[in-house]
Symmetry: C2
Subunit: 323 residues, 2 copies
Amino acid sequence: MSAKNFADRLLSLMDELQNPCCIGLDTRISFVPSFIKQEAAEKEDDAFEAASDAILEFNRRIVDATYDLVPCYKINSAFYELYGKHGIKAMKKTIKHIKKKGRVIILDVKRNDIGSTAEAYANAYLGRVELCDGTKTKSYFDVDAITVNPYLGSDGVLPFMEACKNYGKGIFVLVKTSNPSSSELQDRTLEQGDVLLFHLVSRKVDEWGQELVGSEYGYSSVGMVVGATFPEHAKICRNLAPRAIVLVPGYGAQGATARDVVHNFNDDGLGAIIHSARGVIAAYKTEKFGMPEEKFEEAARNATIEMIRDVLNALRHENKCRW
Amino acid sequence: MSAKNFADRLLSLMDELQNPCCIGLDTRISFVPSFIKQEAAEKEDDAFEAASDAILEFNRRIVDATYDLVPCYKINSAFYELYGKHGIKAMKKTIKHIKKKGRVIILDVKRNDIGSTAEAYANAYLGRVELCDGTKTKSYFDVDAITVNPYLGSDGVLPFMEACKNYGKGIFVLVKTSNPSSSELQDRTLEQGDVLLFHLVSRKVDEWGQELVGSEYGYSSVGMVVGATFPEHAKICRNLAPRAIVLVPGYGAQGATARDVVHNFNDDGLGAIIHSARGVIAAYKTEKFGMPEEKFEEAARNATIEMIRDVLNALRHENKCRW
């Protein structure tokens, strides 16, 4: 209970670094420059271990080249689970490296389950786990926040909130995702009133979040994921859950612009995290920031600086920039 | 493409073993007898590794004591993710052990994402993964089927279906979960007609599954999860997606009886997998099958035999038993 509220921690770091941007370590092996892959493959016979080593080395260099710029990193678990225990080790070491730099880590796992299973997921990523002697003293991943899928209802969210309360952590509940077919379920109109399913989920997020509002900034540690690709929907979510921090995917590579993402912010210039993965970490492969692969860190840094400038300009244009 | 259809493989194994039951390896450390935990803790200094070793030893013994009875095991990923890379190793070794016994493995991971991330999850658990040299030749987990959450719509399901097609695998889509608050989203009435959200998802499952119907039994490799705790809802799902195999949690420890689960079967006596975890693997701790912890395997075996008898009797009562 004494752990500092997650939302307060994240927002004070945004104030310190003067931007709300987040780099996504969705590190596909195809993003890793060939010289890193070759070196890893030469050192290590096990193909899963070599791939994981290459990904870890890439991540460390990206973090070293960008941590002075951004408050937050998001790690996409899928690209680590690919390599089994080897990938999980690389993920854990990436987490450790980011922690040393004092930055917030959101683990994008989209977990969902009920009862004791949800509790197990919550403890795995946010809390402490039970060991052979019955004690609960150790944490394995210990990230700051994870993403959670709400399809199972409150039973699938409350166990995660327990971990948030006990350990000062946060969750981001999927509300309106950035993909075209997100409309199939999330945009269905419900019988009562003129309400779409994702409106209902936004309201739930607001309700769940009440007891985790931080004293410093007034935002909740129960946030939500709202894709940047549907700006009109973003406005609605913003209104229905005003204290939730919105994790916004879709900027850059998925086609949304800085003008699209401003709707996720409140008038105080806070309330959203703008996230880019491929657009930053694979910037060296793009036309705009293209560089020889040996300079991938420099390209990532340039893309990050450009992203921050772009987002802050759009906020200024709407009179919402606090920095 | 040449891999045998998952549904055909599963159903022929059910015919061979003459029952549709599945044991859940939701192995919490608290289920593991203390003599196994002590031995593991003495052999291994690392507390995560010791816990994982104890869980693996427990699983192996449960499988050895029951594999001649059941066609299928379900592994709940949460209880392995708890211990990071150590737990993942125990999970992989459990998978390997079950494979040697020739039984089907469903990994309950409830994954969900879009585009290349969903593809990564699909490849992680069902397919092959890309390595440093750019080849895709190795599989890490390589289970027969996984569970998938549908909240993201078709974009979040189709990449998993690709893996099903390419590697002869299956998925079970969450439709109506067994928990009380599953009604919050899943039972919402939609504007068009008298349709609840989970009806819509059942229809989607039917639609997605069309191209993965097996030639031998006529069932699809796109199945669905429908909790046993709402029998009326189970009938509706059964009708809306007649070719989907229903993975049914909730029997036993969660309160549903064999009479409740029969609604998930078609008249041919097929179409459902009845799953019990705690009721079997922790049977030695119950009043009904209670035994000293040294005999936990015997208790698990007795509970399995009783479960099979119970389910088959209920099916016979409805004239739906084919064995």
